[in-house]
């Protein structure tokens, strides 16, 4: 039953959309949480609109990051680019130790406030997990397999697209998954530098001492992360099933 693999992401998506549209239905709950506050549900901007902006930001930066990192990872593992391999893997590991907030803060002086610096910061930060996993994935392919492919008379392009990338796809996809999940959280911090995201209610809540606002932003970001993560898991499972590595779920 192939469709069952998609059941979980679809369920989370439904919960996410329901929470986005129906946050005001939970007003009594938030009232009970904060009896002294007049406005308990964030109302400066529609949640659905914020969700859309958030997803757009993560998707655009994630796509650019994944493509750039994969191309870089492929280039430095080709005979012509081997010289840059140690440098690339160093950058990929050192970059991971930078806190995302620092990357955001550093891009403000360069690009000013708003969505642009957030996009760039997310893109740069998202590069690293994908680059690292592309290198690990391509490096992890058995030399015997590559020797056989070459010995059978496959061209370098055929080896790359029919053997190397399919075999590394699982690991690369895991890198994209990490990258996107981290950036869903990091994008929220973008609200501090003027990007409109689901971080807006959190920032507003922190400034005004309104815990309900913080909760609303956090719940939606959490649900978005769960939806995305389960989507990636479903894709990974599909890949496994196709190559017979696990039984059909």
């Amino acid at each position: 039953m192939m469709w069952r693999a998609w059941l979980r992401p679809l369920t989370w998506l439904a919960v996410l959309l329901l929470a986005t549209v129906g946050m005001s239905w939970l007003a009594p709950l938030f009232h009970w949480l904060q009896p002294d506050t007049r406005t308990v549900v964030y109302n400066r901007q529609d949640f659905l609109y914020l969700l859309w902006l958030h997803v757009e930001l993560v998707f655009a930066s994630g796509l650019a990051a994944a493509l750039t990192a994969m191309i870089a990872g492929i280039l430095v593992t080709r005979p012509g680019g081997r010289d840059f391999l140690p440098l690339a893997s160093q950058i990929a590991s050192i970059g991971q130790t930078f806190p995302p907030v620092a990357v955001l803060a550093l891009s403000v002086p360069a690009l000013g406030f708003g969505a642009a610096p957030t996009l760039v910061a997310l893109g740069l930060y998202g590069l690293l997990p994908v680059l690292r996993n592309t290198l690990v994935g391509l490096d992890g392919i058995s030399p015997t397999v590559l020797e056989a492919a070459k010995g059978m008379g496959m061209s370098p392009w055929q080896i790359l697209f029919r053997i190397e990338l399919p075999l590394a796809s699982r690991v690369i996809l895991a890198g994209v998954r990490t990258s996107v999940t981290i950036n869903i959280a990091t994008a929220a911090i973008g609200s501090t530098i003027g990007a409109r995201t689901l971080g807006d209610p959190i920032i507003a809540g922190l400034i005004n001492g309104n815990t309900a606002f913080v909760l609303q932003g956090a719940i939606l970001i959490g649900l978005l992360a769960l939806t995305t993560d389960s989507l990636f898991e479903a894709i990974q499972r599909r890949l496994d099933v196709r190559r017979g590595q696990s039984s059909v779920v």
Partner: protein, 315 residues
Amino acid sequence: MIELQGVTKRFGDRVAVDNLSLTVESGEVCVLVGSSGCGKSTTLRMINRLLPHDAGRILIDGRQIASFDPQTLRRGIGYAIQGTGLFPHWTVARNIGLVPRLLGWSPADIEARVTELLNLLGLPPETFAGKFPHALSGGQAQRVGVARALAGNPNILLMDEPFGALDAITRENLQQEMLRIQAQLHKTIVFVTHDIDEALRLASRIVVMHEGRVMQYDSPDVLLRRPANAFVENLIGSQDRGLKAAALRQVSELLDREAPTDDLSGEAPALLMEDTLRQALSLMFRHHRESLRVVDGNGDSVGVIRLSRLMAEGF
């Protein structure tokens, strides 16, 4: 026919293959044998240009391999290696069909070829075609590896320790299988191994290599009878050389067809015509007999083999 003329290969300062000349006739099984680092694999990998040679010429059917496009050259040469190198994300059928697909065969032709090869190697297509490599045993995977090497119907087959990672019983089965297939197909095979027994068993000619040079190039029989130098003598082992030589020949060669066989029936088992003289000697020792009955496939006596005759022959 494969000709190597004065071929040299260096890795930095180290000379891996030193001015090597060798001719492998069509239909021959030429086994390169030697310890690791002797240049046997390097020699093999130069034939399909996985490694470039630094000096000398390599010719296939009279044409220099340098004149071919490397990919075209490799598609025309079967290649089987230790550990198989099967593509883990492809089914057995797709793995075997690789070279035909690269050669642009039609899907129907490829499918027919895959089925033919699976049958040839004793892997029922209905069971194995759809399997993935990780679901195969070591021996099955290696059979698929050999099938893949044969798929494009090449005249030449290069095999680099293909049975090296298998247990003794599986290895012996596959060696037998290979001899059976070779008797059918008559490919020109260059086979690399470090196992002298495997070499003696499979080869029509053996190349003993040491430090990039050929120590001796002869048929297994001649190699055992007249080793060219101390290195070869040491490699084939001075102690059991006689038994190794006996293993190369069949009972049918020294059979006495005239002798009466009636008094030989009894507890000692009979030999088949195609059993080796080594097996004959072993049975004689074990059952304290100086002669044994030889039977055909139906169990009917066809003659007698005698210890005295084996002794007279000498190995």
